[in-house]
Every structure is written in C-alpha cells, then in structure tokens.
C-alpha cells in the first residue's frame, strides 16, 4: 500500500515544484486532447443532431456505423493515420504528383496526433449525441414547428432538451482520448519535448522500471480528468439554473 502513497506524494511533489518536464507533458496532453475534442464536438454535435432527429433512408446503417466507431481500437486508428501520412503514404504521393516537391512532415507532429484523436473521439460524440437527441419527444419538436420555429430554433430547442446527453457526449469523447495511448504513441512517436504526452510518458517510465514516477503521472492524469469532468457537470448545472 505504501507504494501508492509514495506515488501520490511524488505526483504532488512534481506538481508543487513546477517540474518543467511534467508540466510540459501535461500541457501537451491537454492541448492535443482539447483541440481534438473541440473539432470532434464542432462536427459531432451537429452530425449527431441531424442523424438523431431526421428520418432518412439508411439511417439505421449510419447509426450502426457510428456505434461501431465508438469501439475503434486507438492503435488501429494510429496505424491507419500513420499509413496515411507516411512519406510513402498516399497523401505524400498525391502532394508530390500534384504540387511537386516533398510534403512537409506530418508524422511525429502534434497535428498528426490531433487527427488521430479526432477520429477516435468523433464517433463517441456523434453516437452519444444522437442517442440523446433521439430521446427528445417528437411532440416537442412538432409543437415548436407548428408555432413557427425555424430549423435553427428547433435544433436549439432539441439540443437544449437533450443537454445532459450532449454534455455526456463531450465527456465521453474527452474520456476516450485523454487516456488513449495506442494512437498518440504510433503517430506522435513519444518524442521528448515535442510529442510526449502523459500516457506515452507513463508507458515509457513503466518500461524503464520507474514504477513510482509512472504511477505518479497516472495519478496526475486521473486528477486532471476528475477536475475537467467535474467542471463539465458544474457547467451543465449552472446552465440549468439560468433556465429558471
């Protein structure tokens, strides 16, 4: 048991002393997953609303594809993104044949990591949003429409009604990427000072046998996730208060 207390103490020490290495990887984790979540939410919430509220042919197929996407193994996403952005990959070849010259390197950069994490979190955001939107009573939307609400008004009303679910969608997307290691390790390369994030640092410290430090970083990661998830819940509740 003592080893866990030591790890918590070590984690606190790393934070309290402002260890630049630790703060660097925490900041990068937040930056990569934050930007990814922002992009995934901007695309995923409207997409989830459209799929969840409209009746169209192939809707059940689209829903099934989205739900399957919620279970995408991050390492497979990493492998696909790697093959896509590799210097021998299709993007690079297209660049050379259309624009000439060599494509600037994407592999082992933050944008490559963001691309992978957007792919991982997008189905999570879409899937949970569409389930939440689908549970909003049809009557409500029909009533809004009969009272002359425009499409935008109807969307706003529906998303407001489904706000808990939409928030859960954003939280699910965030949870899926902040803790993910397979994709960021493959396309980021875990390069110290440029693409090393918390999860890949934990793997590295574990491999080096520095269990204490690995565990300390793990606790910091859990602490950050707790704060952010709590912040989301707080926002959701303050939104509810405003309503009254």
């Amino acid at each position: 048991m003592e080893v866990f207390w030591k790890a918590i103490a070590e984690g606190t020490r790393l934070l309290a002393h402002g260890d630049p290495y630790t703060y660097g990887i925490i900041a990068l984790s937040l930056r990569v997953s934050g930007i990814s979540l922002l992009i995934a939410s901007a695309i995923g919430i409207p997409a989830g609303y459209l799929i969840g509220s409209r009746r169209f042919r192939g809707r059940s197929l689209v829903t099934a594809v989205v739900n399957t996407g919620m279970g995408l193994p991050p390492v497979v996403v990493g492998l696909v993104v790697y093959m896509l952005v590799s210097r021998s990959g299709p993007l690079s070849q297209a660049w050379t044949s259309w624009l000439g010259g060599i494509m600037p390197r994407i592999l082992y950069t933050v944008p490559a990591m963001i691309l992978a994490q957007v792919i991982i979190s997008l189905p999570l955001v879409v899937g949970v949003t569409l389930a939440a939107v689908g549970s909003v009573p049809m009557d409500l939307r029909l009533q809004a429409r009969s009272l002359g609400a425009s499409g935008w008004h109807e969307a706003a009303l529906t998303i407001k009604e489904a706000r808990r679910g939409v928030m859960a969608a954003v939280a699910a997307g965030f949870g899926g990427i902040i803790s993910e290691v397979g994709a960021v390790s493959m396309v980021g390369g875990n390069i110290e000072g440029s693409t090393r994030v918390m999860t890949t640092a934990i793997v590295l410290e574990t491999n080096k046998g520095n269990f204490g430090k690995a565990l300390a970083l793990g606790f910091i990661l859990i602490g950050i996730a707790f704060l952010i998830m709590n912040g989301m819940t707080w926002l959701q509740q303050s939104g509810g208060r405003y309503e009254r």
């Binding site: 934050g34 939410s41 390197r105 574990t206």
Partner: protein
C-alpha cells in the same frame, strides 16, 4: 418570451462548453510553449529535425539521454527526435522513409535492408551482450553454463517457464538464432513457452512475476535489476554478442543530418561517450564501442 429565454439558455450552455474547452486548450498552448522560448532566443536558426529510429531497449537503457544532447551540442543545426520501437518497426519506418537514420541491432536484417537499397550503408557502432536471466532458485539448473544453446535446451527439457519477446525485435531475432543453434526449430507457444509480444522491460517484469527464464540485453537488465527478482545465470558465450549498427536511410528527408549523425557516433567523441556510459552507475559500461 419564455421560448427565447430557453433558447438562449441552450445556446449559452453550448457556448459555455466551447469556451471551456477552448480555455483549457489555450492554457495548454501557453504552457507548452514556455519551455521552448529560451531555445528560440538563443538560436537564430531553427534546427532541422533529424529522426532517429531506434529500439526500445536502447532508449530504456538511458544511453540516448547522454548521447543525443552531446550530438546536438556538436551539431546545433539538428534537433534529434528519437522514435523508440522494435527493430522490425524501425526498419519498416526506414523503408517508408519516415526516419532519417537507424540505430538497431539485428545484423542480418540490417544487411538485407541495405542490400535492398533502403539504406545507404551499414556500420558497426557498439555492442553489448545478452544474458540468460531467471529466478535465483534456478529450477532448470543452468547457472554457470557457458554455451547458451545448451542452456536453452536444458530449460526446455526441464519444463521450466520461458518468456519470449515474441516480437520482431533484435532480442527475439537473437533468441531464435540460439534456438536454431541448439537444434530446435523456432518454438511455438506452449504452456511453458510464452510469446509476450512486448518490449524488453515488460518481458523482464513478466518473467520476474512468474519466476520464469528469459533472454535480455545486459543494459536493460542492469537498469531494471532493482525492480526484478531475477539474476544473470548464463553469460559470456560469443553467441550472446549483441551488435548495434547505424544505417542512414536512402533518400532520407534529412540525409545530411543522417550522415552527420553516423560520422559523429563513429568518431572518438561519440565513442568515448558510449564507453563511459554506465560506469558510474553500474561499475561497468553498458555498451562497448567497436566502430567499423
């Protein structure tokens, strides 16, 4: 009126979410850039990235922590980015030209790689050796044996558990060559032979937890020894020799940097860093330079 209020509440909620996400995104940006600032002020020219694909065992040994800063000091125009993967993946990265220079340890595969035109040349850099490690109780009774292949056979016939890397790594390649020397075909997974498919550090932990035998490079073992309940049982056989080679990738993005790295690591300066690494901590060097 109520409708409008409700509507604005919904939008406010969404806006708040986005602002919140954006806020911690920006906080992330700011903090991430802080450590970079002094470097930018010092150097007018932005250093070019030099991608070094190497093995997890080399990175886990800690050698790069002293080797890379020394190289970057000698060549401030390059910023080395280390990608630590298995030898198989490192060679694949080189084949796809996603790495500029390789530092790996599977000589036969490296020669094939260069012969296929993926690398410009291959030079010996340094060596360390492999050791057969196992529990102190040594149920197979291999302690002190001098021929690695015989020790492997004895582990197998005794029915003791052996954990294999089971990946495409240099260590696994070495293990297979020892099995071949013992007259055994490549072993397949059995209850007493586990194919882990993991890095050296992970496999050593698995062996330790199960009181099993495994083959490890000495550097990784010495680094992790304190956290393991394993000891060196067989060492010194020439078959356990672990040669590292450096290969600049053909048509690499940073071909000049790759060449500079190879020349530097083979130079007296690079070699002396290699030969001194580990002496202070373990009383013996982890790697011995033998440049060709």
């Amino acid at each position: 009126m109520i409708d409008r209020l409700r509507e604005s509440a919904a939008w406010r909620l969404i806006a708040l979410t986005l602002v919140f996400v954006l806020a911690f995104t920006l906080v992330g940006c700011k903090k991430a850039e802080e450590p970079e600032e002094p470097a930018v002020e010092e150097e007018v020219v932005e250093p070019t990235a030099l991608i070094l694909a190497s093995t997890t065992s080399t990175q886990d040994s800690g050698l790069f922590d002293v080797l890379i800063p020394a190289f970057e000091e000698a060549y401030p125009e390059y910023k080395v980015e280390v990608i630590a993967v298995g030898t198989g993946e490192a060679l694949k990265l080189g084949e796809n030209k996603d790495a500029d220079v390789l530092l790996v340890h599977a000589k036969a595969k490296e020669e094939t790689f260069v012969a296929a035109g993926f690398g410009t040349e291959r030079r010996d850099v340094m060596y360390n050796d492999f050791v057969i490690v196992g529990p102190a109780a040594d149920p197979a009774g291999i302690k002190g044996m001098t021929v690695a292949a015989d020790a492997f056979m004895k582990i197998k016939t005794s029915g003791a558990l052996f954990v294999s890397r089971g990946d495409d790594s240099g260590t696994y390649t070495k293990e297979i060559s020892i099995w071949k020397a013992s007259g055994e075909t490549t072993p397949t997974a059995t209850p007493t032979y586990q194919l882990a498919g993991k890095g050296m550090g992970d496999v050593l932990k698995m062996a330790s937890e199960q009181a099993a035998y495994t083959l490890s490079d000495r550097a990784t073992f010495l680094k992790l020894e304190g956290t393991l309940q394993l000891e060196v049982l067989v060492e010194g056989d020439k078959a356990l020799f672990n040669q590292y080679g450096v290969i600049p990738v053909t048509d690499a993005t940073n071909a000049e940097g790759a060449q500079a790295f190879m020349d530097w690591i083979l130079s007296d300066e690079g070699q002396s860093i290699i030969n001194e690494y580990g002496v202070e901590e373990f009383g013996q060097p982890l790697f011995i330079g033998n440049p060709s």
